[in-house]
Symmetry: C2
Subunit: 290 residues, 2 copies
């Protein structure tokens, strides 16, 4: 096991509170008085999560958006965010992007910390939400016979990243300024059996849903809406699209626009089947160790 | 105004929610259903907040402890923490320190994010607490005629830092493993008029309390318990001691061991008077821009 995997295992061993459900890379779901709180924390690091020289307004926008996307997948209403920010050259642009994303989703900045440091900068957001529906959606609820659905189009973020990296002048908003699907998440929460956002690649996230649900998921790749049909597998594994992936009981219609892309089957020898091919381990299915 | 000051001003302009009270560097106090939540987020950066080569178990311990100290100053009971962690060489030690501090204060790890990056590492903790007393203690409640008190001894962290830096072999726990005064904070909350933890230096933090309370605070330096009487002013300005600084109505005894070090006076021409000398601005009174 790698050193990183060892560390993450140590954290999982510490995350024994029922709110954490042993998962340190997912939202915490915390019953508190009359409310159910949803808590999530994501960090973005220069050169790991964004290109050196990136517009810091985009970085701020995306940092908040990906945290709000975690809340969306829980059907949660945002309550506010805390910011951990390493000061740098383009802070004025960072502040502009922060104001834009908080304004767009009507989310208050509640507090945080600003620090100085050398080398690659990092920025963290903690997002706090309140559940609008209980039980709170999770990735572990997929049931035998359910249908699998995804919102939107996959691969758009990949094309945006490539446009930005190559300076082609093509649009890159799908990569730089993802839109958290808060309205869709709340509409879906009462209907779904399992839900998560597609942050690390459709196949990897579906693999994780299948593992968490102790089921197998079968995906029909041709059914998945992709941004570039000539690179279908790239679109299914790239990530960063922040669409919602969810399962519904057979015969239930999605209350939001979405595409049916597969089914939940009895747990076979693999968690994931793509066009009938068994995918036994998560390597190559998406981004890991981000 | 410096670029950093500009940025912090931009954040203050965004922090308009009543929970944030326009302060991005203090706890957020959030009414939610039947509970009052206290939220805080602090970041530690390699070479800014800890020495390169530091024992990462100490770094993890201190990172959690300083966030819990913020909760202590609000009289809050910790509910849990989220961790944002940049992976590195000594992660096994980091995990050990994390387990120690969470165990010592019986605080669960609720979730977080692990990331890779180059250069100086950074680590963030978000601590979530619930208020045990309302109104929640703040730094802004000091009243004319109140007495000013501080727990413990100031300057111990400074001596610990110097021992560690110089490799003298003397104890450095006061610097490396500060003890958040959670029990004391809860005991004090119903009695105090203003309270904060001493993170950036007694004089700077008292200056901030006076400013927030629109009062003047007069401190008798000889009354302050210090770890090295030959370096009294260093002890009063160094910070990192995480003692509690609070005001009580005249005649009220402190319910926890503490020393009376001053009084709250009508707002004069300076926020702070040290042995009768007016201190007009915060420069030199403690750490800023950490």
């Amino acid at each position: 096991m790698s050193r990183e995997a060892d560390f993450i295992q140590s954290l999982r061993a510490l995350a024994t509170h029922p709110a954490a459900r042993g998962l340190v890379d997912d939202c915490a779901v915390l019953e508190l008085g009359s409310e159910t709180l949803i808590l999530t924390h994501d960090v973005m690091v220069e050169r790991t999560h964004y290109l050196a020289g990136a517009d810091m307004a985009d970085v701020a926008f995306k940092l908040v958006a990906v945290n709000l996307s975690d809340l969306a997948a829980k059907g949660a209403e945002p309550v506010g965010v805390l910011l951990g920010h390493m000061l740098g050259e383009d802070d004025a642009r960072f502040a502009e992007g922060l104001a834009e994303v908080l304004g767009a989703y009507n989310v208050p900045l509640l507090g945080g910390d600003t620090v100085s440091g050398e080398g690659a900068r990092s920025h963290g957001i903690t997002a706090i939400g309140r559940a609008t529906h209980t039980p709170v959606p999770s990735r572990s609820g997929a049931q035998l016979g359910d249908t699998l659905h995804v919102t939107g189009t996959l691969g758009a973020a990949m094309l945006g990243f490539e446009a930005l990296r190559d300076g082609t002048g093509a649009g890159h908003a799908a990569y730089s300024r993802p839109q958290p699907l808060l309205t869709e998440g709340k509409a879906l929460a009462p209907h779904i059996t399992a839900m998560m956002d597609v942050s690390d690649g459709l196949l990897l996230d579906a693999f994780r849903m299948a593992e968490a649900s102790a089921a197998s998921i079968a995906i029909d790749s041709a059914a998945v809406p992709v941004a570039d049909t000539s690179r279908r597998i790239d679109c299914l594994t790239w990530g960063d699209d922040y669409q919602l992936l969810f399962t519904l009981p057979a015969g239930t219609e999605s209350p939001v626009p979405a595409t049916r892309i597969g089914t939940v089957e009895p747990r076979g020898f693999a968690p994931l089947f793509l066009d009938g091919e068994a995918l036994l381990n998560p390597e190559g299915l998406g981004y890991t160790h981000k």
